[in-house]
Symmetry: C2
């Protein structure tokens, strides 16, 4: 193991939400310390971190001080300001690399990257104004979805067009942000693959999971997914293709639409992913530890699945059901310790396993 | 769930070693914060705790300040000074209760408690001086083991007597500490049961594990253990009997000798136990989370075993093997982040699973 962080080293994590929290726990299993950088006070990850910096991403002094205490930097979300990355990268390695962030921060760049790789995506076209949108609708047709190119997640920054008449409202919804029109994909279901690539190019993928959304937010992930053996193979191979093309180091989530014409890539997330939370109770090594192993330069672990799992997100008032879930057989709760319950807020999840 | 800590509450943990560290991680899964109290600087648990107090157990002000920030107090080791417990107990509930500590802090009290319950132990006699020892040897015979009544662990504070001629040396080894002579037990192997009791008296036991020691320190625990169905049932029932007799709240380790005449209780530990580390990768809910659930007044989780596991402790120079173990299939590493590797020091463990 060359280029390998020794146990006891410190991993810097940008972002202190639940993903940073579970990354921090995984890091602790390998003897690493974590240092969380997060603008908001008392983030979930702070409860399980060795150190926390509370500062905005515009605070150059704080960024420098943070970088100097850590051995490597990773992140739990993709929308990190470029200026912050420039400062951090001058001081410590950032894994996964900037390329992965650049691709996934912009839906248009992402789609272009994927089609260049020979992978299928929804039809798409850039939309900056009403003229672009009219041309895009003429080319792609409706129904379609207009999305901001950047900073969208959990269904935010999106507007559906049932017919060309919806163009005006959709454009207004974008509030002037550079956008992309995506054609409607006639899919039967959505699956995702959580894959990890190590520094020396080793790739490991977990079994694909099948995702069900509610109100634009992931509701459940079920493994095994409803896929033929060849679809499953396709899903894993295309994930490996993406990881290798980006010379990616870490864990990535790849969302796929299953259609009669094959698998269509919906989007990629250059980080651990909500649809990979099932691995915590389905495998000896979970997605968080695979990510930590990769960014620390370690060999990947064994992500073989030992149980069937249904992961259910606990959102907002779902927290009222925790006392009952706590009594269920074969149910493993994962709560994020967020102080305030709000509608639409991810508060935790439960993995129900069938060995 | 009455008497139940809400997610977001803070659990105080006395002791910041690897057990406190893994308790802290388990607490985070249920949304709890932890506050570690530990005299030594930079303890392993500090890496994953919300707060840490570094102060001796004689510092009354520090104990009071600690207690006032937490909702309940638990511990990772049994040798907590009585004066500290008196202060803490006046401010917050301590779980497991004082009775469990009193019993397990003193080998003589423990043996008397177990025999009063109708359970079998090694023959034993109190030894305070040479006269006591001569009488004890006459009664119990040799081979036998002289042990200090208090503060022994991992084979420390023990002296073997192969014959009565070893009496002088054994007594000298005790350095004047109140002691107990224990008769030799002719056992085939050692197993342990990790059991948990909730506030409302629910009891759950994990499958018994079979323990192999090296140089007086646990080397491996293997599940399933080599036990007949009726031995397994006996092991679980006697563990429940101990938990109920103590009105215990939390996880306990019960070490048992397997003999042709039945199971003999070696010792009990009123805390999570090294021989229960396999549960981290063998069950949906591990011994640490069961303990946290119990002390937080939650219902116990489902400790059903989904995989066979061999847990191996990584002691001292075993850390040199970590790079190879990291590459093994089906191997889950758990490293404690201790700064310095020393001979005999528990640095981590690995759970090798067979689903």
């Amino acid at each position: 193991m060359t280029d390998t962080l020794p146990t006891g080293a410190t991993i810097g994590i940008l972002g202190g939400g639940q993903l940073g929290r579970m990354l921090s726990v995984a890091a602790s299993r390998l003897g690493f310390k974590t240092h969380i950088y997060e603008p908001g006070a008392n983030p979930p990850a702070a409860d399980v971190a060795h150190a926390v910096t509370t500062a905005p991403y515009e605070d150059e002094a704080a960024l420098r001080a943070f970088a100097e205490t850590v051995d490597v930097i990773t992140y739990e979300f993709e929308n990190i300001p470029t200026s912050a990355l420039d400062i951090l990268e001058s001081l410590r390695p950032i894994r996964p690399n900037r390329r992965a962030l650049a691709v996934s921060q912009d839906r248009l760049t992402e789609k272009a990257f994927l089609t260049d790789l020979g992978l299928k995506t929804a039809a798409f076209a850039a939309v900056d104004d009403a003229v672009d949108l009219a041309e895009a609708i003429a080319e792609i047709g409706t129904p379609a979805i207009l999305k901001t190119r950047r900073f969208g997640y959990d269904g935010k920054g999106q507007s559906r067009l049932k017919s060309p008449e919806d163009a005006g409202k959709a454009l207004a919804d974008m509030a002037g942000a550079p956008s992309i029109l995506e054609g409607f994909v006639n899919f039967t279901h959505e699956v995702s693959v959580i894959g990890t690539r190590s520094i020396d190019g080793q790739v490991a993928c977990f079994d694909p999971g099948e995702n069900v959304h509610r109100d634009g937010i992931l509701h459940t992930t079920t493994v095994p997914a409803n896929l033929t053996a060849s679809q499953k193979m396709d899903a894993v191979l295309l994930t490996a293709k993406i990881l290798n093309a980006l010379k990616y180091v870490g864990t990535m989530g790849v969302e796929l639409f299953v259609t009669p014409q094959g698998l269509i890539v919906n989007e990629i997330a250059p980080r651990v992913h909500n649809s990979g939370h099932w691995t915590q109770n389905g495998c000896a090594i979970d997605q968080f530890e695979q990510h930590i192993r990769a960014v620390a330069g370690w060999p990947l672990g064994d992500g073989k699945r030992h149980s069937d799992v249904v992961m259910e997100n606990l959102i907002g008032a779902d927290m009222d059901r925790v006392p009952d879930i706590a009594k269920e057989p074969n149910a493993a709760l994962h709560l994020y310790g967020k102080a305030e319950t709000k509608p639409g807020r991810k508060m935790g999840h439960v993995n129900r396993i069938t060995p």
